[in-house]
Each structure stands twice: as C-alpha cells, then as structure tokens.
Symmetry: C2
Subunit: 556 residues, 2 copies
C-alpha cells in the first residue's frame, strides 16, 4: 500500500467503525451535514463557480478508449448545459478496467473502504457544486438538490461501504484448523480467505436522483473489489461525471489504477445500457428506473447479479386521526408536493373508507376529508416562492402528459396548477393533482402515475382498504406505505399486511418525518420483498453477492 493509501486508512478508520456501529444499531447518525452553512462561507460561491466552469465545454475526464465526445443535457429549468463527455470504445475501456482489478482486490477490504471514504469526504466538500449539477439535471429545487444530491447521497454511499466491509470481514482472513485424531497427531491446516470481485459492475443512473440512487451500487461494488462503469441517464450526466472524476483522482492519489471507475455516456438512441448489461465482463448491475427495463435486465443479463429498483404504487390508509389532524394533512400535503411527486417514494393511493373517518373522536365524511386535504396542499403551496422551493421543476414531458390524462380520472378534488418561476420562466412547475376514485377502479390505481398525482380511493371499510393494500402491493409493488389510525388493532392489522406485502410502513406521521423520505443508517429504502425492487438500500443482501470468498489451505 502506498503512504497515501495508508494515510487514508488511518484518517477514516474511525468513520468506518462508526458507520459499522450505525448499520447495526440503526439510530440517527451521519457524518455529512445537511445544512449549507456547515460548509463554510465561501462554499456556495465556490460551488457555483465550479459548476459554471463546466458549462459549454468538454468535461475534464481522460479515459482509455474515448472515441468521441457526446452529451446534450438540457436543464428542466430551460438551459442547455452544453457539456460534452467521453463516449467509450468498450473493447478498449473494459479491458483497461479489468486490468485495474487485481491490485484493488489484493489491497483488501480495509484499504478499499477507507480510500472510498476519502472519496466521499471529497465529494462532500464539493456538495455545492454537485447540488447545482443535480438541480439543473433532475429539476429538483436547489435546497433539495443540495441535501438529496449531496449529504444524503453520500450517506447512502458510506452505508454501502460499511455493509460491504461487514460482509467481507464476516470471517477471519486467516485461520488455523486443528482436527483431533484420537491417539494420532492432530491434522493441522493453515487457511487463507480472500474476498475476490465478480468483475465489472455497471451502474445505470436515473434522471431524478442521479447521485442518491447511484451511490449505493457504485460504492458497494467498488468496496467489494469490483471496477465500476457508470452509465448515466442522458439528461443527468454531470453529477455522475463529477463523482467519477473525484473517484478517479482519489484512487490515483492512493496508488491505484483510476480505471477502476469510468463514465460511459451514450450517443442519442444508442441503447448503451443494453449493450453494457450483456457484455461478459459485466458481472454486477445496479439499475433504477422503469419496471419494463428493470425486468429486461433481470431476465437478459444472466452473467450478472442484477439489483433493480422499479415502479410501485405507494399506499396510504386513512382510518382515524387523534388530535393532530392539521399535522397529518400537512404531512401528506408535503409528501405529495416535494419535487412535484417525482420520487419513487411519493404516496399515490390514499385509501379512505367511503363512510368517512374519525377525527379527534368526531365523524368526518370522505368528501370533507378530501376537501381538507386539498386545502392543506393549497395552503402549503399558496406562496409561489415557497411552491417553487418545494416543487422544483417537472423533469420530462411524460409527467406533464400524465397530469393531463389524470384530469379526466374520477372526480378532481384538487387540480394541478402551473406555478410561475421568475428566475427560470421556461421551467414547468406543477402542483399536485388529487382525484377521488372508487376502490372498484382497480385499473386506475394498480399502475404507477409517476409525478404529482394522487388518488383518494373510497374503500368499503378500513378492513377492506387493508386487504386491497395487501393484495395490490404484493402484486404491483410499492416502496412506501403509511397508515393513520388511533386504533391499535387497525395498526396491527396494517403492520401484518405490510409484512405480507413486504413493504416498509410509516405509522401516523404528523411531524417533520415524511413517508417519502428515508434516513440512511436507519431506514431501509425499499425492501426487495415486492415487485417494486429486488433489493434494499443497503443491507447485507445488497453487498454479500458482489464478491466471493476464495480460500487457500495447506498443512502446517
């Protein structure tokens, strides 16, 4: 190991140990502050300048096998980024990546983990720069892009590093085995156990959370000794290009081959993800996106271990509310609105008994609840500046088209309005649409309506709502679920249904924790137990099959 790598190992050992404790104990912890002021007075201006410096030119990244420069990102806020990136000749790039692996493998789990934590620390220091890149590719409002694209993504990266380390060190690196043989001398063997990588990992990025959804797979595969090729969404390249550049620099400084990480940007219509996913060198795949392509990957890349997060129908069951009705309405309104509902965790199906609910002991009709919920959203987004800061911009035309289509579904309880954005007049900023439908309208609500679209679904009863929840989520998947009830029996029944359907449940959220947000080191994101995802971020199953253990034994 080089002196620099050793320095990183000493510097970050404590963070690694603390992260290992966190993934076991699952209490609150993060090493990466989410408040901008924690980054110092100069950070905002420096980050903006760094971001601006990328615009309109080739991104500074030199990789083997670059055959041309490509890229045509257009910000949801209306600007062309004009940045170009290396397009790879895979027959040159992939062998160079393979050649980088043996040294990385031989360095062992401790060196890999701490070099990667150094890279995360550097990414953390560049949070403002990354925030601008995420803001202008995903359409997330800047405040959200800062947190979700910066520290929260870095948390998920570190969490994956910790799990990878824990899995690789689940057994000793060397052992002596001594088997008694009765009166004869014991048999004695010395054994070594080495974690070996599978091969090249492929991370396929998404448009909406280019860093948050990519960091777990990226860091998990690297920490387990694999090289990783990152194929970003064509409209969200810059955040991952910065990430790849930081990783390559950190690896090189530590004495490793920077080709352990590479960016692979596609030409328009090239379908590079499919090409990469079926290359024999690619042995691990991480993907976030459509159910259709996720299933294609699960079935057409048998040479690789495939981790997918796909679409789902996130569900809320409303039965009864104690005294904080306002808190409950505000909590739901926020979850509908954040990033215009363009989150895989945004609630879509809100089951409400058609005969109404109980609020602080009083009956409230379905229609009154619908009206109160609509009012809470209107109040939350009444001020345009605040609305812009919460909603961000619509990231693609599909969302606007679905909003149009939803106008004719059921009875519109709250129409979506377009919010003016004085800074970026071309941005499409849309408030949530809420439509009331019936539990019989299964064709409507058993598919995902990605975007700010939610359905209030009239159910025969709370019990009927729970059964429909169990069935629809088992069959169609969900990343999140929540229930509101003052009745312990209803909560227990919903928890039981959530275990059967395999979905994480939030109970009676009224305060500053939202069903569409998960906290790294404590909340698992997705479960891998329903069709919305075949894995969770992060857990042992997410890392344990990215490497294999190979042993060598000899007589002593």
């Amino acid at each position: 190991m080089t002196a620099t790598a050793e320095q990183f190992t000493v510097r970050h050992r404590e963070t690694l140990d603390r992260a290992l404790q966190a993934i076991r104990e699952r209490a609150f912890w993060t090493p990466y502050p989410e408040m901008p002021k924690a980054y110092g007075e100069q950070a905002a201006a420096d980050g903006k300048a760094a971001y601006d410096g990328y615009l309109g030119g080739p991104f500074p990244l030199t990789q083997p096998g670059t055959d041309e420069l490509v890229g045509a990102e257009k910000s949801p806020y209306g600007l062309d980024l004009g940045v170009t990136y290396p397009h790879p000749d895979l027959d040159v790039l992939l062998p160079a990546m393979q050649a980088a692996m043996p040294q990385w493998r031989d360095a062992g789990p401790d060196a890999r983990a701490t070099v990667l934590i150094e890279a995360l620390a550097r990414l953390n220091a560049r949070t403002n720069e990354i925030a601008h890149a995420v803001h202008h590719t995903s359409g997330q409002a800047f405040g959200m892009a800062f947190q979700a694209g910066g520290p929260h993504a870095q948390d998920r990266g570190l969490e994956a590093v910790a799990y990878a380390y824990a899995a690789q060190t689940a057994q000793v690196a060397a052992a002596e085995w001594e088997k008694p043989q009765g009166p004869k001398p014991a048999l004695k063997m010395a054994k070594k156990f080495t974690a070996v990588p599978r091969g090249i990992g492929l991370v396929i990025g998404c448009n909406t959370f280019p860093t948050w959804n990519s960091y777990p797979g990226l860091f998990a595969s690297l920490a387990t000794g694999n090289a990783v090729v990152v194929k970003p969404h064509p409209n969200a390249i810059l955040p991952l290009a910065i990430t790849v550049a930081v990783l390559r620099d950190t690896l090189a400084e530590a004495g490793f081959d920077p080709n352990l990480v590479a960016l692979a940007v596609e030409k328009p219509g090239e379908g590079l993800a499919k090409v990469l996913a079926t290359r024999p060198e690619v042995r691990v795949i991480d993907y976030t996106g459509s159910t259709e392509f996720g299933q294609w990957l699960e079935r057409n890349a048998p040479q690789a271990v495939v981790y997918t997060e796909k679409a789902g129908i996130n569900t809320v069951i409303v039965d009864s509310v104690a005294d904080d009705y306002k808190g409950m309405l505000g909590n739901l309104a926020f979850s509908f609105s954040l990033y215009s509902g363009q989150m895989c965790t945004t609630p879509q199906n809100i089951f409400v008994p058609r005969d109404g609910i109980t609020v602080a002991g009083e009956h409230k009709s379905f229609d009154d609840f619908a009206s109160d919920l609509a009012g809470a959203v209107e109040k939350l987004l009444g001020d345009d500046a605040r609305a812009n800061a919460l909603l961000g911009a619509v990231c693609n035309a599909g969302v606007s088209e679905r909003l149009k289509q939803a106008e004719s579904v059921g009875k519109t309880v709250l129409a979506s309005r377009t919010v003016a954005n004085p800074e970026y007049p071309d941005a499409q900023v849309r408030t949530p649409l809420i439509a009331a439908i019936d539990a019989a309208d299964t064709a409507v609500y058993t598919g995902e309506w990605f975007g700010p679209i939610s359905f209030l679904i009239a159910a025969d009863s709370t019990d009927a709502a729970i059964e429909t929840f169990r069935k629809t989520v088992s069959e169609h998947g969900a990343i999140t679920a929540s229930v509101y009830s003052t009745d312990d029996d209803v909560i227990a029944k919903t928890e039981d249904a959530a275990l059967d359907a395999g979905v994480n449940l939030s109970v009676n959220l009224t305060g500053g924790v939202y069903v569409n947000q998960s906290a790294a080191f404590s909340d698992f994101h997705a479960t891998g137990a329903n069709p919305a995802a075949n894995s969770a971020l992060s857990d042992l199953a997410y890392v344990a099959n990215r490497f294999r253990v190979v042993q060598s034994r000899r007589h002593i």
Copy 2:
C-alpha cells in the same frame, strides 16, 4: 411461543452461539461426532432395524394433497427398496405450506434457529438409520454414508442455520432514532425491523449426496422463515423422507405447522422439478446436479432466487515434491478412489510438465510419475475388502459408460477394474482409470467426466499449466484445485491464478486431508465465483437474500 419451543431455545442457545463463533473463526469445530462408536452400543442395530422397517411399504408421512403413492428406488447394491412416498397435488400442498409461514415468520430468528437445531440433534441421533438409507440410494460405502450422510451433512445444516441467524440479526430488531433539529425539539421515531421470508423454498436433491448437498439449502431457507418443499432425486428419496419426517415432527412438537416442510416425490418422467421451479409460490431454489438443468433453472425461474451447484473440471498442478512423495501419491490416489470419484470435488485434470517434475531434488520423468501414481492407486485398492470400503458402488449406468469411453482416450496409464463385492454381487464397483493426454487435447479435459476418471495432462511447463488452469477453470468451472510444489513462487502464482479463476486451492496435500473433502465451519464448499456453482456452502451470500427486512416506524 409454546413451552416446548422455549425449551428448545434454552437447550440449543449454546450450540447456536458456538456455531456463530465457528463461522467467524473458521477453526475446527463440530457438535456431531463422526465416529460410529460415539453413538452408543445399541445405535448400529437400532439404525439397521429402523432402515429395514421402511423397506417394502409406504413411508410414514402424512401430508396435505397427497393424491397417490409413488417411488421405485433401486439400490446401487442391487436391491429394490420398495418404499412408496406421497405424490403431491401442488394446488393443495403449496397453499397449505404458505398458510404455515406467518406464524413461523412471527416466531423470529432465535426460535427458528433453535427449533432447527433440535431437529438436527434428532437427525444426528438417527445417523445410523440415515447412513443405511444413504448407502442404499447413493451407493456410497457404509462408512462414508455414515459420515457424509450423517454428521457431515448435519454440520452443513447447522452452519446454514448459523449464517441465517447472523444475517437476520445483522441489525437490531427495534431502534429509537433521534435527529437533532437545532433549537427545535429533536425528531424522534421508534422503528421495528422484521425478517420476512421470500415464500416457499424448493430443494432439489441429487443422487450422490442426498443429505449433504440438500441440508444447507433446506436449513437456510427454513431458518430465514420460508417453508421448504423437498424434491428428491427419484433414486435417493429415503434419506430425505426421513429428514422431512423428523423436521415435521419437531416443528409440530414445538407448536408450529408441520407443513413448513414437505416432500414432493415425482412419478416416473413427470419432470416435477421444472413444474415446481416455475410455480409462483416458489421463491427460492437450491439445486445440485447437471450444468444443463442448473442453467435452465438460473434462466427460467425469474420469480425465485436460485442457488446452483453444477459440473466442473477439478484441477491439480504437479510441479515438484519435497520429501513426502509417497504421501503425495497416496493422497491423490485416495482422492481419485473415494466413492469411485463420484464427487463434485474429485480431481480430474492433473497437469504435469511434459519434461517431468522434481522429487526430493531429483528429476522424475512424466512417465515415471504416471507409473508411480498408478502404482499408488493399485496399492491403495489392492485388497478387495478395502477397495469396497473406499469405492462404494457406481450409482448409475452413465458412470460405467463414461469409463468405457475413457478407455480410448489418450494412453491408459491405469485401467479401471471391477471389484467383486461378496455381500452384494450385483453392485458395480469400479477402480479409477487414469489416462495420459496432452495439454493440446482441450476437447477432452474441458468437460466433466463424472466418475473415477482422471487425466494426466502433459503441459509445456509449470507456468503453462498454471495459465491453462486459470483459463479452463474460469471458463468451465471447478469446485476444487490443488498444487504440489516446493517453490514458493510457483505456489504464489498458482494462488493468484486460483483467485482469478475463483476456485478454492489446496497446497501440497500429503496427509489425512484430501482435496475432495471440505470441513464445515472452516472450508467453504465451492466459491460461487466460477461456472461450477453460483454459490458457496455456506456464506452470507447464501443466506442474506432468502429473507428480506421490512420495517415499521412511528413518532415517539
């Protein structure tokens, strides 16, 4: 939990803790003695009587949905067992198994592990009975059937239970999360984490090691909360029927639904494994057998997590030997002979430099080494009684056919002979065939010749042998590999090639440890890193994806 289940938990807690220590430390440990005398004076007679009691009648097993009795096992020692078993109506059996799961899930990892350890203790007490069943279905000699079919299989079952417990308890069952909010009150949440099963596990047994190769998947799936349907090889049903019966009894006594485990025996030509593997209820599959069917399962059961052990080309590299040449020859001869080479771990490809090797500093030609090795096998098997005790019987006609075919391959260094078995005159007992070929004859040695067939392959040099080893095992797979050299540099190069090819390596075996045997709690069986298997027995990756974690959170 019932009083009986609590009793099991108290009784076996120490064994579980000791097993958890063993899988981390990987030193020698086993709770199940491998010496027959440890089982008491009466055990042999009782076991034989119990085995005899099964012959010629219906096996005592009552399961839901039994539509007829089937079974036509014929012992490789020439007897018809005449035992019949339940054939299932899957539309009745599988729903009954599903209905059994929620209670098992809710019992939690501790109860599941200790109830299963109780079942293993009962299986251990019936080792003699199981040994006869394994002997008369696999053809293993009785002594081997006793050890491999009894305590060694039980070890692998307990190892899987320990890994499953470790993975499920990698995080706390409940946590409090408290996030500071500056001057405002902290956000506080209470969280629960529950391991939930995937669904029904399917274990597809093999002919040669009905218990040893089935117990890891069977116990791993059960310990993680799944129900398991066991589909035995049509000629090796009885050992697994006894196992299923013991498990069902233990579960019922502990207050659980015995339908958590069921036997599914097929009618001739029914192809029940394919039918079961594609049922939507089946979510985990464990398989040992042919590459062809293993790959079929990996590609045609996308609803399930699939663990396979398939064919491989186990390799030995001979470069040089120090003073214990006799020990080396004897060690190899034993590995070729044990159970007539009908092990997935038997060495097949023995690379030897065509210019010869160095023995105790003296040159020895390729032909002299071949002759010495042939002599060692002849010496080992010269006495018919000893030969019968080592070789066992050929388990199917395919092995005899391959022996015939191998007679015309290369130059026969040692011909296979048929050993008379006075007790069972119909048994096919065959000694190993060794043929000398050239490294250019790749078509011969890049496929598996299952049975007592080994090739001495003349290589251009030790380095060339190492390169061919790296390439052929990477491409065609292997479960085992070994190297003989007095040169540290050769050993290091071979270890490096073994890491690249992803195969476990034994170095300079001369004593009572054989390349075709692995010790539970210390040696990993297979690696999952080459085409011979996609998993290892057992490790974290083998258990971590058999369950998923589902959480529930609420404000405090």
